[in-house]
Assembly symmetry: C2
Homo-oligomer: 189 residues x 2
């Protein structure tokens, strides 16, 4: 019943993270109603993503044939590496302005904790590090993944760490789980 | 700090309904990581929306120079019209298979209840109807809009109605407001 261009758009966009068929349909009609100029600008913005490749050193999406801004910065310590799942995790850590090492982007992790070949190869590029911070979400699945990543990296670094746990800003003590509270007590300041 | 193609994508896609800058960034990296072929397919799907125009009769997005599937169906009663805000409202009503009239798509409504020129022109195309169902969301803002639309349509139809209120499937009586419960009691069956 939907016009063909809407159907095709929904087919592709409904699979993107956080978007389902319902929202994709709404977005499709919304864009269509914005008119031809907006549509062609949006199409160009999508096509522009094709100019990205991965940084040869940390594997974050970056302009083709270039090293990313972090890895090419001589002030960053290449011996301290934060292993993250997604580029958006990297972006969030960068926003703190407090991390002086570099990154390794693994790509989306499976819930079963099994790393794919590409992820194993990426981990193998890490050698002789002073510290590797396994900056994977402290969720149930994330913890399984972090455990497996630790195994892979056990000979790659002097030190393996994870991000500290505690009550997040705006969080409520009442609803914090025991492990979080225990860590928050331990790191009180 | 973000690569240029990501930044441009986020600029446009963060403004779409239900997507903010954070999700747009995540989607951008996700698409970039899917590789050039997927990116170019997605760009084509977006560009395809440019082939849509609005139905000359009900103003839903449809292939250019054509009348939509509903309006061109001789079995539909053109004297009974459901006025909806968005195409996705139309789609939801169509899915019931229980509405035999046709539609008028108004386009996104402002929260202040003021109709724009295009919306007023669209409403003016409705004349000599047997029934016009003002199928606008029964929210506080929607009710204001519905009231204003009623005013515009007071000489256009023998009957003006709105969708019935009641407890939705899966809803809880405890949390229903008084107007909803009152209507649910009235229309019990």
């Amino acid at each position: 019943m939907l016009p063909d261009p809407i159907r095709k758009f929904v087919e592709i966009f409904a699979k993107l993270p956080g978007i389902g068929p319902r929202q994709a349909t709404r977005i499709a009609f919304h864009m269509a109603n914005q008119g031809k100029n907006s549509v062609s600008e949006a199409a160009k913005a999508v096509a522009g993503l094709g100019n990205l490749s991965v940084c040869a050193s940390c594997f974050t999406a970056t302009l083709a044939n270039s090293v990313c801004a972090v890895c090419s910065n001589p002030k960053r310590n290449p011996k301290i590496i934060a292993v993250v799942e997604k580029e958006t995790d990297l972006t969030s850590i960068e926003k703190t302005g407090k991390f002086e090492g570099r990154y390794l982007v693994l790509g989306e992790l499976k819930k079963d904790g099994i790393l794919n070949e590409m992820q194993k190869l990426r981990l193998k590029t890490l050698k002789n590090a002073d510290e590797i911070i396994i900056a994977i979400n402290p969720t149930t699945y994330g913890d399984i993944n972090a455990e497996i990543i630790s195994q892979e990296l056990k000979n790659s670094s002097k030190k393996l760490t994870r991000l500290g746990r505690g009550i997040p800003t705006g969080g409520e003590i009442e609803f914090a789980d025991e492990a979080t509270l225990e860590s928050a007590l331990e790191h009180r300041k």
